[in-house]
């Protein structure tokens, strides 16, 4: 249909030699160059024509047609409101997630490191502090609760940009193609992260591999695309946000709800349906979804009376009553601890620069006891309020082992080999006076499920690194 753009016949624009020259060789080179230039020109013209023809291909019926998407409230402003919320929320998720990774001290020892091939992605690792003692409780509570709360916003954002998925042509230029590939990483990455995180906090381990590895590397795949997306869209977002006032929009009723002016991205429908919901209504519904999720989730990280409000969260009830009635991560039975190893035959072995020392629980109880009020805070986001632990200071045990300035300690549990059966703690964690090998909690012996006969409790330490059923401490310089 576009005869003007059809490639010209080969040779028609061929080389036109001005005159024959005495000098034979340069003439031939020149002729060759001319021929190549002409062929290139022909080829380029042909390619341009092909591109033009492809560009004029009508979209197939269905979602690719501009009239298909009809919601009258879809448009850059609404997308940008959801985008702004995610622009604040997602960096917060990323930072708290990276903090959680650092809290496991993966750079300290091979035993702590489930991602030994992390390479440059661990560039920022630092010595995880013990101050303030509620640090991990806060960061991980925020990470998990915020992730849950952002689900409706994420869904709304994806809903608001659905026409872009079906834009026609699917790829217009190289830049456009690369950008869409990046969007695949963005959308795939964000949902991969949300899904793995949300399944993991419910102990629904159906994802393909170790949660720790998948969620960590997945976060980097996602954030690479997220940063590009922000770079490319920030200007458009702020322009769109300025195009309508939030206050005015929140006062607009259904009768006055109109589509936004047509936008180059094609979010605004060309054939809008009559409105059935105001923008205020849409924002309220999405915000209401987030609020409801917050209400039924946050209590498991706040504890106390609020725990009862976390109606759908995994750790919303006490597993028992009394001094040991607080939340359990993994029971002794769940990790396969043999109860016979916890009876009178149990011994604590202390290693350091001297020959190993061995203690019975009675001997440990006869030593000076120290107390600390510390929470258990889990990577799954739930936590307990401060519990009153008492036992032996790790720093005293280090001195007993002959290494008063120990730089690290390998903690080994009675539990069968597996993830978190042993951990290495850093010097700053050993020498905090609140770091204990606890024997009692809330005035009673530890229960089996809380680590009887002895467990580690360290301020701001991820719960799973507060090893239970400890039987050996190996201090190192």
């Amino acid at each position: 249909m576009d005869s003007g753009g059809r490639p010209s016949a080969p040779g028609s624009g061929g080389p036109r030699r001005p005159r024959s020259d005495e000098d034979h060789t340069p003439g031939r080179v020149e002729r060759f160059r001319d021929a190549m230039a002409a062929r290139a020109a022909t080829g380029a013209a042909g390619a341009r024509a092909l591109v033009r023809r492809v560009k004029q291909t009508p979209p197939p019926p269905g979602p690719f047609r501009p009239g298909f998407w009809r919601s009258p409230i879809r448009g850059p402003w609404l997308t940008s409101v959801f985008g702004l919320v995610l622009l604040i929320g997602i960096p917060l998720l990323f930072v708290t997630g990276m903090l959680s990774y650092a809290a496991y001290n993966p750079g300290l020892d091979r035993i702590n490191d489930q991602t030994p091939d992390k390479g440059l992605l661990g560039f920022y690792l630092f010595d995880w502090p013990t101050h303030p003692y509620w640090l991990y409780r806060l960061t991980q509570g925020v990470h998990v609760t915020l992730g849950v709360v952002l689900v409706p916003v994420l869904l709304a954002k994806l809903w608001s940009v659905i026409p872009k998925l079906f834009e026609w042509l699917p790829v217009r230029t190289v830049a456009h193609g690369l950008e869409r590939l990046s969007l695949l990483m963005l959308v795939g990455g964000v949902i991969f992260e949300f899904v793995t995180g949300i399944l993991n906090i419910q102990l629904y381990y159906v994802f393909p591999g170790s949660f720790y590895t998948l969620h960590f590397y997945g976060a980097w795949v996602f954030i690479a695309a997220f940063v590009v997306h922000v770079c490319l869209r920030l200007g458009r977002m702020s322009r769109a946000l300025r195009s309508r006032g939030l206050a005015a929009e929140l006062r607009t009723d259904l009768a006055h709800t109109r589509p936004e002016p047509p936008d180059p991205d094609g979010l605004v429908p060309q054939a809008p349906a009559p409105p059935t919901m105001t923008r205020r209504g849409a924002l309220t519904m999405v915000g209401g979804g987030s609020l409801l999720l917050l209400v039924v989730t946050a209590g498991q990280s706040i504890g106390g009376w609020a725990r009862n409000t976390a109606l759908l969260a995994p750790h919303n009830r006490a597993p028992g009553s009394g001094p040991n009635g607080f939340q359990i991560n993994k029971t002794a039975a769940a990790v396969g601890v043999n109860p016979a190893h916890l009876g009178p035959s149990w011994r604590l072995e202390l290693r350091g620069s001297r020959p190993p020392l061995v203690f019975t629980r009675e001997q440990l109880l006869a030593m000076p006891q120290h107390a600390a009020a510390l929470p258990i805070a889990c990577v799954e986001g739930w936590s307990t309020p401060d519990q009153h632990w008492s036992g032996l200071r790790l720093t005293d045990l280090a001195a007993l082992a002959g290494l008063p300035d120990a730089g690290s300690v390998l903690v080994e549990s009675v539990q069968p080999p597996g993830p978190y059966a042993s951990v290495v703690l850093r010097g700053n964690q050993i020498h905090d006076p609140r770091s204990l090998l606890a024997l009692h909690v809330n005035g009673a012996d530890l229960s089996i499920d809380h680590g009887y006969p002895a467990r580690i409790i360290v301020p701001a330490n991820p719960g799973v690194n507060n090893t239970k059923w400890v039987h050996r401490l190996t201090f190192r310089t």
Binding site: K118, G209, Y217, G289
Partner: protein
Amino acid sequence: MTRFVRWYGSSPLHLLVLIASFALTGYAVVRLFAVRPLDVAIWFVGAAILHDLILLPLYSLADLSAHTVLRHQATPEPQVPWINYLRVPTFLSGVLLLVWFPLIFDLSIPYPGAARLPEGVYLGRWLAITAVLFAASALAFALKLRRVRRAARAAEERPAPGQDAAP
């Protein structure tokens, strides 16, 4: 520069940013796919299409069907927009289910043993929340209906304007 823009479709800065991003993506992807690459790829691509090609068509279709099926009940009463009284509780109950379905349907095998917390409470709680949401919506709709009907009756009882002036 213009030739580049014509060929590439955007500015060179666009290309540089994207290449930097893809390099980081590649670095992480190699590690993400190190174990069970096929399964991870299925999960990643599945994640990319989960909302856009599965959830969105389903909920859009449900919304359109609700509109079509429940529209135009011939009643003498004045029409009141009702769709949002159905949409909002459905959405709220739906996001709760979407996030907490493994617990609601007792799908997590290790959960009760690990946390020493009995499963089986979540389905009842979710149903109770759903009941409260729909009941609240029904109540709000009933109040709205009453208000609209009263206003309509009041308008009827008032003499139509201009009646006396009729010839």
